[in-house]
């Protein structure tokens, strides 16, 4: 039973060996003539301004957070789907309740503007700022 999992380990080892080997080989085979400008990060030919690792929008974090929550939902759904046929209507309503609660959460986040990426700013640029209510804009502004 466990022996079925050994090929996976072997496969990982083989893939790692290939990746490591070819990266090593190319670093040996290629030329190596560095100078300061060549090693600069690319910024369309200009000298780079500041460090790249600056803070970015909290939106990315919100997406990752919602992702975790729904990922948990999916890992509950997998074993449920496997034995769904024997659970019958009982299982249907059981999971229906679970999914409903999470959909309510999604609806809440949606209403609060957590799913808008950068709607208000874009609308303002397009000259449609009047169509966006101020309180909504204030609610979705991120700093």
């Amino acid at each position: 039973m466990l022996v079925e999992y050994l090929p996976i380990l072997l496969f990982i080892a083989a893939a790692a060996l290939f990746a490591g080997g070819s990266i090593l080989l190319s670093s040996l085979a290629g030329p190596w003539r560095p100078f300061a400008e060549k090693l600069e990060p690319y910024e369309c030919g200009m000298a780079p301004v500041g460090m790249a690792r600056e803070r970015f929008s909290v939106k990315f974090y919100l997406v990752a957070m919602l992702f975790i929550i729904f990922d948990i939902e999916i890992i509950f759904l997998f074993p449920w789907a496997v034995i769904f046929k024997e659970l019958g209507w009982f299982g249907f309503f059981e999971m229906g309740g679970f999914v409903l609660v999470l959909v309510l959460g999604l609806a809440y986040v949606w209403r609060k503007g957590g799913l808008e990426w950068d709607e208000p700013e874009r609308a303002a640029v397009d000259g449609e700022s009047r169509t966006v209510p101020t309180e909504q804009r204030a609610g979705t502004g991120f700093r």
């Binding site: 466990l2 929550i69 809440y108």
Partner: protein, 171 residues
């Protein structure tokens, strides 16, 4: 064979966990923790918990640690200047006491008078016949119905809480 695999995974998990605590850079700490999780998934497979092993990877390595990396990058955390672990503080004493307690407990468990409760009905043969996922699913969705439904409330709370916290602007 099983011992060899166990020792490999155990050493990997232990070393990566220690590395996680000792690293100065939060990103490397996170990477060490991810390595621990992989080794742990290997241990789960050795324990014939295939469903748990892959769910573990999906949740911890695939989701939670991604969020950690996002936050580390979002806050642009730099490596700390001072040595990460400072001994000889109140925390040290607390740690020692806790460690001693835990070791004592382990010694009780490891000792000859190991107390194992009544044996359940899911031995390897039964599991092979039923299928790991099917057997776990049956218990989860029949016997643990109420905890399962309550889980959705925990998730809902987390969603709302994070939304409120993340959206509040500093004054």
């Amino acid at each position: 064979m099983e011992w060899a695999l166990f020792l490999t995974f155990a050493l990997l998990a232990g070393a990566a966990a220690v590395g996680m605590v000792l690293q100065r850079s939060p990103i490397y700490s996170a990477l060490c923790l991810i390595l621990t999780f992989f080794a742990q998934a290997g241990l789960y497979v050795l324990l014939h918990a295939q469903l748990i092993a892959f769910v573990h990877i999906i949740v911890y390595a695939g989701a939670i640690m991604v969020l950690f990396l996002f936050v580390i990058m979002l806050l642009d955390l730099r490596p700390e200047d001072h040595p990460p672990v400072r001994f000889g503080q109140a925390g040290m004493l607390l740690g020692l006491i806790l460690a001693a307690l835990l070791l004592a407990e382990l010694a009780l468990g490891i000792g000859p008078r190991i107390i194992l409760g009544s044996q359940g009905s899911y031995d390897l043969e039964t599991l092979r016949m039923l299928g790991n996922t099917q057997a776990v699913g049956r218990i989860l969705f029949r016997e643990y119905l109420v905890p399962f439904e309550l889980t959705s409330l925990i998730l809902l709370t987390a969603m709302i809480g994070a939304m409120v916290l993340a959206k509040r602007r500093p004054e």
